[in-house]
Amino acid sequence: MNIIRAFLRSAARAIAAVPLLGLALFAQLVPTPAVAVDTLNVYSIWPENWARPMFEEFEKATGIKVNFVRFSSGEALARVIAEKNNPRVDVLFGGPVETFAAGIGEGLFEPYKPPSFASLPPRFRHADGQWIAIADDPLVFMSNDKFIKENGLKAPTSWNDLLAPAYKNMLQMADARTSGTAVTRIFSVLEVNGRDENKAFDYMKKLRPNVQLYTKSGGGGTLPVGLGQAGAGIFFIVDALDTKAKGYEVTISFPKEGIGTAAEGIALLKGAKNPALGKKLIDWATSPAMQGLFAKYKINFVPAHPDVALEPSLAAVLQGAKIFPIDADYAGANRKRIVDRWIAEVLNP
């Protein structure tokens, strides 16, 4: 039995070594913030292909390296809430401000007012500095050219155009349970109906048979529309222009009744391990230093800072469009109730 015993002994030793190995991993493979002084940790809600160039430019400008991981707005917020007592990151970057508004109630953020604070219009900043806007992102209608042509339609220019029978089962838009895009859309419908909730919900219920799929993420429907798997949809302009840039034949249009826009935010987390570095990123991101780079990297957000000029081709797209901001107070106060009603009456009638 010696061999068995020797085998078991070495096996036991190996297993006992597991925690040691864990320590070794800790020490060698995990870059601990304590060691790397000029490293900032960030959850980005912006997709990697936009966040990465921004953070590289930030490093060039300040020498501060940004470690980041990308999550959708819902995942990012769920994580920040789960990690509340011991935050893993310093800054929450990008994503619609209504996500940040939801986080204020959870006590997630450390108020901070960057130098740009005074220059920003009120709707681009939280009064106490819980969040600051870094960009603005209007909604648009996006339709597939071939679908429009085959059905003898024109690119939709009114909310009511989307009710046409030709669109039956051919629209894709975001699911209000997971997507800020959807919440902005629903509040847009409320706004164009004069905040008459019953009228707005009547419209959404009438639209329901034309909706093929409510997607998990705001941009989830852009590829199907690009491919013609869906005929049209309602998206943020940044996603719609990205689809067009990829080569898909789509048309962007605006409803004459008007459509809402949502600001994208940034915030410092309460209990952040590197608050000073986090503030530097917020200073940079809310200033023309970052927002002037959108055009260079073909990021089609509208800059939030008034000193940054709108890029000409983006300005051409927005020419003549009727765009209104969503009232943050009204939306914040009614969001949960409206979304619950949407789930009960529109999504699962």
Binding site: R9, F26, P47, G74, I81, A82, N86, D175, G247
Partner: protein, 567 residues
């Protein structure tokens, strides 16, 4: 032996062997830490509100009619996938075992069948989206159909069957191969028709295997999160995706955990059925005594042609999906610009390099530890007697039987704060893999050790070999396949799993599968396809190496691969 006697024998056994005692102690500590503790923390979160006990959170979610519908949908889908997948798996297994196919054709079938099993999640789902629907390659371009909907029960069902039927195939094929064809031959020579032989001899002998395959598929479908997330649409919500949405969309951790717990009941029932009922009813066992094989043609040439055609049709669908995937990884933008490019591969090897590196490091560390954990625990519970042996075996299976979403959330809750601050490290992902997929190695070890007739070891000793030589030359080679199988499964799952680990990735450690999901939601289809192709290539390479190693031990390697479950 009465209870005291058994206790005494057990404790004496431990006292006699300090190495065993130490190993048992360490294993219990690890199980308590990585299986029991997270689950207890999750339960505490579900059942308390500001420190007070309450079932209100649970009740609110479970009485919601939409969630009840999702629960019903989950069961319906699992039932359908279980049935259809078992039938399809049997078709392939029967054709492979009885069809007298040439070697190259068998290999071709194996490859086609393994593809969906070793792929990252979403791959079939995405291919489905491209192929069906209003402008699908098949529905529109090929068949000219209009207004077809791709989202819903039908396509989720179709996609899951294609993804999971290989489990049934791998369960049934060794079983059919092991049925002594002499028995069938005898029935045939006694005048029974081929159909009668099949119906009265072959099929009854396969029934336990069919039941086993059905339960495995049922569990796999029940826990599947990736396919419904893409394909189920709004008309057919299922529970794992609802739990995910509850947490990530409505920021309701308690509700999400409660929904996961609703999945626990059927998952556990299936697991216990499979473990304690079906596995006891296997009629075919491997003994040392060989029997001469009389050739017997159990299927007629016409039947053989029909079976082959059916298999070829299914294999063709699988291959078509993967060709589409490969194609998507090599063109600028599928559906818009079909110019050839290597750009997506450049992207994944630059921007995605960290994910690839992290995934490989984690898989490489989890692999040997998972394999070792499997044989050690398997060996101890089979060959050593100590207190709580059965309990240990059962506890070790918990993370394996639970849907991944539950395990992931439980780890996130349990390990975010001191004293056990593991979130953000690779260790939390590695531990998740070891305790979630290591059980395959445990089961393989137990099964192999139980098959070793005591007479084999006795014979060895009777012929003059010492116990050391016997262990080294008889026992060890017999459990080595289990070691490599366990190791292989942990590796494959480390490369392809997402349901648990989507909650465990961090700033420092990310995974390829999470990148794929992100790319899909950001409509970067090319990089998603390129990542998937890379994963399939790596996994196939590793399987080939493990197969080679197993071959050295001249032992059947297919058997333990049947448990490549989860998602």
């Amino acid at each position: 032996m009465n209870a005291t006697g058994r206790w005494k024998a057990a404790t004496t056994g431990m006292r006699n062997d300090p190495a065993v005692a130490a190993a048992v102690f360490v294993l219990w500590a690890l199980l308590a830490l990585f299986v029991v503790y997270p689950l207890a923390m999750l339960l505490a979160r579900v059942l308390t509100d500001n420190g007070a006990f309450t079932t209100a959170g649970l009740a609110a979610v479970l009485s919601d009619r939409h969630q009840i519908r999702a629960f019903g949908n989950s069961l319906l889908l699992a039932l359908m996938v279980g049935t259809a997948g078992t039938v399809l798996g049997f078709l392939f297994a029967f054709t492979a075992a009885r069809g007298r196919l040439p070697r190259w054709l068998l290999t071709a079938i194996d490859v086609a069948v393994l593809l969906p099993l070793v792929s990252p999640p979403f791959t079939t789902a995405i291919a489905m989206i491209f192929s069906f629907g209003p402008r699908g390659l098949i529905t529109y371009d090929l068949l000219g159909l209009k207004g077809v909907t791709v989202y819903g029960l039908t396509s989720t069902f179709f996609s899951e069957v294609l993804t999971f039927f290989p489990i049934a195939y791998l369960t049934l094929r060794p079983l059919l191969a092991a049925i002594d064809s002499n028995v069938e031959g005898m029935a045939f020579s006694l005048g029974a028709s081929r159909w009668r032989v099949f119906r009265t001899v072959t099929l009854p002998l396969t029934i336990p295997g069919l039941a086993n395959a059905f339960l495995l598929l049922f569990a796999a479908s029940l826990a599947d999160f990736a396919t419904p997330l893409i394909l189920a649409g709004n008309q057919f919500p299922v529970l794992p995706t609802q739990a995910y949405l509850q947490i990530t969309g409505l920021f309701d951790l308690r509700g999400g955990a409660a929904l996961s717990f609703a999945l626990l009941l059927p998952a556990l029932a299936v697991f216990l059925l499979q473990r304690y009922w079906v596995s006891r009813r296997y009629y075919v066992t491997i003994t040392g005594k060989g029997a001469g094989q009389t050739p017997f043609d159990s299927i007629s040439p016409a039947m053989r042609a029909v079976l082959l055609a059916a298999c070829a049709a299914v294999a063709l669908v699988v291959v078509y999906f993967y060709v589409l995937l490969l194609y998507a990884s090599l063109v600028v933008a599928l559906g818009a610009n079909h110019a050839f490019t290597l750009q997506h591969y450049r992207t994944i090897f630059s921007d995605g390099l960290k994910a690839i590196r992290d995934t490989l490091i984690i898989a490489a560390l989890a692999m040997p530890l998972g394999g070792l954990y499997g044989i050690l625990l398997g060996y101890l519970v089979t060959k050593k007697s100590f207190v709580g042996r059965r309990t240990m075996e059962l506890v070790s299976m918990i993370n394996y039987a639970l849907p991944g979403t539950i395990v992931g959330i439980a780890y996130l809750i349990a390990f975010n704060e001191p004293p056990l601050e593991l979130t953000g490290t690779a260790l939390i992902i590695i531990a998740c893999y070891i305790f979630r997929y290591g059980p395959t190695g445990i089961r393989a070890t137990v099964a192999l050790l139980q098959q070793i007739d005591k007479s084999l070891e006795e014979a060895s000793q009777g012929l003059g070999a010492g116990s050391g030589v016997t262990f080294r030359r008889v026992t060890l080679p017999l459990i080595m396949p289990a070691f490599f199988a366990g190791l292989g499964v942990v590796f494959i799952r480390s490369m392809t799993a997402i349901s648990a680990t989507i909650f465990l990735v961090s700033i420092s450690w990310t995974l390829i599968t999470v990148k794929i999901l992100e790319n899909i939601t950001e409509l970067s289809l090319g990089p998603a396809a390129a990542f998937s192709v890379l994963v399939v290539a790596i996994v196939f390479a590793v399987i080939a190496i493990i197969g080679r190693v197993l071959h050295l031990f001249r032992a059947p390697g297919a058997m333990p691969m049947t448990s490549l479950l989860g998602g």
